[in-house]
C-alpha cells in the first residue's frame, strides 16, 4: 500500500522529499539518507539519472529505501527507455513492492555526462502516465494485451508552472490529469505569485478536485545557488527579491536564510486552496529536511 496515497486520501497535508542516488554502487549512501528521512516524510522520491548524469538506478535505490521502511516514489524518465522497457520496469517495480511512480520526460541528455547518448523519447510523459494507468486499472499493456497481474501503483506526474507559455501550463496539467495522473509534484516554487495564479487556473478547470497537487520547494544554500538556478536552470523562476534577500545576509548565514525562505514558502503553500502537500527537494542536503518539516509544523507525520 502506498503511504503517500493513504495520507492524501485521508486529507492530511502530505510531505515528500527527494533522494538522489549516488554516482556509484555503494548502498550506504542511500541507507544514510533513509536514516535522515525516516519518520520525517510520507514518501521519498528517487530521481532517475537526474540532469542526465549516470547514477545508481532509481529502482535499485527505491528497493533499498523500502527495505528501511520508507515509501519510495520511483521516478522514471522516458529519455532512456522505450515503451517495452518502461512497461517492464513498472511491472518489476510493482513486483518489488514499489507503490508510487512519477512519470517524467527527463532532462535532455545534452546536459549530462553522456551527451553523445541517443535520447529515446519513444513515449512522452503524458503518454507514459496513460499507459501506466491502463496497466493498473485495466490490466493491459499498450496495444491491449492482458497482463497476468496488474501492477499496484499510485501514479504521479510533474508540472512546471514556471515554464512558458504560461497560459498553456494549465492545459498541460489538464492533459496529465486526463491521462490518469493521481498526484502532481511541481517544479521548485520561489515565485509564489505566479504559482498562485497557476493554481487559480487549475481550480477554475476543476483540476484540484481530480488530482493531488504537491508544491515543490528547494531550500537555497547560498545566494550563488539562487543566481545559478535563475540563470542556468531552464524553467526555474527565482525572483530578484529572493536573490536580494539571500545576498542581504552574510555568506555564513545564507544557508539559514535559505531554510527560512523554504519554511515560509511551505507555510504559504498550506494556505493555497487545492495544494495537498509539499515536495521538498533538498539537493544533497537531506540532513536538513527533518527540521524544515518540523519548523513548518508538519510533524509528526500521520501513522508514523
Amino acid at each position: 500500500m502506498s503511504r503517500l496515497r493513504e495520507v492524501l486520501n485521508q486529507g492530511a497535508f502530505a510531505v515528500t522529499a527527494e533522494c538522489g542516488p549516488p554516482k556509484g554502487a555503494d548502498p550506504d549512501v542511500i541507507l544514510k539518507k533513509a536514516e535522515l528521512l525516516k519518520g520525517k516524510v510520507d514518501a521519498v522520491n528517487v530521481t532517475d539519472n537526474q540532469t542526465a548524469i549516470v547514477r545508481m538506478s532509481s529502482l535499485a535505490a527505491c528497493v533499498l529505501l523500502k527495505n528501511q521502511g520508507l515509501d519510495p516514489v520511483l521516478q522514471v524518465v522516458v529519455r532512456d527507455r522505450n515503451r517495452i522497457a518502461l512497461q517492464s520496469d513498472i511491472l518489476g517495480a510493482s513486483s518489488l513492492g514499489i507503490r508510487n511512480v512519477l512519470c517524467l520526460s527527463g532532462d535532455h541528455q545534452r546536459f549530462g555526462n553522456q551527451p553523445q547518448a541517443v535520447g529515446v523519447f519513444d513515449l512522452d510523459s503524458i503518454q507514459f502516465v496513460q499507459v501506466v494507468r491502463r496497466m493498473r486499472d485495466q490490466g493491459v499493456i499498450l496495444g491491449g494485451e492482458d497482463l497476468t497481474k496488474a501492477p499496484d501503483i499510485f501514479i504521479g506526474a510533474a508540472a512546471n508552472p514556471f515554464g512558458d507559455p504560461f497560459n498553456f501550463r494549465v492545459v498541460r496539467l489538464a492533459k496529465k490529469v486526463a491521462a490518469g495522473a493521481e498526484f502532481i509534484q511541481t517544479q521548485c516554487i520561489y515565485n509564489l505569485e505566479r504559482f498562485e495564479k497557476w493554481m487559480a487556473m487549475a481550480r477554475d478547470r476543476g483540476l484540484t478536485e481530480k488530482v493531488h497537487i504537491l508544491g515543490g520547494v528547494t531550500p537555497l544554500k547560498s545566494a550563488g545557488m539562487a543566481k545559478y538556478m535563475k540563470k542556468r536552470v531552464a524553467g526555474m523562476d527565482v525572483p530578484d527579491e529572493v536573490i536580494r534577500r539571500m545576498e542581504g545576509v552574510p555568506s555564513k548565514k545564507q544557508a539559514e536564510e535559505g531554510l527560512r525562505i523554504c519554511i515560509e514558502t511551505i507555510e504559504r503553500l498550506k494556505e493555497v486552496a487545492g495544494v495537498k502537500g509539499v515536495h521538498i527537494m533538498a539537493i544533497e542536503w537531506e540532513e536538513r529536511v527533518g527540521e524544515i518539516v518540523e519548523s513548518a509544523g508538519l510533524l509528526p507525520r500521520p501513522g508514523q
Binding site: R83, G119, D122, S125, R172, G235
Partner: protein, 222 residues
Amino acid sequence: MITAEQKPLDEIRGTISHFRRILVLGCGSCVAECAAGGEKETGMLASALRMAAKMEGKEVLIHEKTLERQCVRDFIILLDDIVHEYDAVLSLGCGAGVQAVADMFSEIPVIPALNTEFLGETRDQGLWVENCLGGGDCMLYHFGGICPLARCSKHLLNGPCGGSVEGKCEIDPEIPCGWQLIIDRLEQHHALDRLEHVYPPKDWSKKQGGGPRKIIREDQQR
C-alpha cells in the same frame, strides 16, 4: 531536401591517401542547394586536393565530374565509360548517393566527402534548418504544419516540457521551442482546442520498425 556538410579536409585526405587516380564526384541536387556538394564545391575540393598533393610532392591524378543526381541510376550510368579509369571515387553526394554509386560499381571504393545531416529547408542564405524526420505517417495537420517530432528536442507529442522559456528550447537558447511555435500557429488558426487532446504514442514502425524502408509503385514501373 537532404542537407550535408563537407568533412574536414584532413579527414578526406586521410581516406584517399592510398589512391593514385581519384574521381571527385559531385551531385547537382540537394547537396548543391546546401552548398556542400554541387559543381562549384566539387571543383573547389578537387583543386584543394590537387594542391595539397602537389605540396607533398605526390603524383596523384584527380579529376572531377558532377552528376545531376547521384541517387538515381539513370544518371549514375553516365559514369559507365569513365569510372574504370580511377582507383576510387570521392563522392560529394549524400549518404544515399554514395551508396547508389557504390552499388553500381561495387569493384571501386566510393568514399564519402560529406557528412549527411537532415531533411530540412533553406531558411535563408547560408541557413538550413531541420524540420522533418521522415516519420512515415505525417502528423503535420494536427500541429498547424509544425512537426513536434522534428522540432521539439524531446520529440514530445504532448508538449511543451517544463524547459520552454520565452519561446526557446532548454537545450540551447538559439533553438526555438517547437511547441511554442505550434501553440502560436494554432492560435493564429483559432485551433488551440486541438491541443487539449492527448495524442497517443507514435507508431514508429512506419519509420524504422520494419527495417530499411522501400516504396513500391507498380504504376511507375516499366
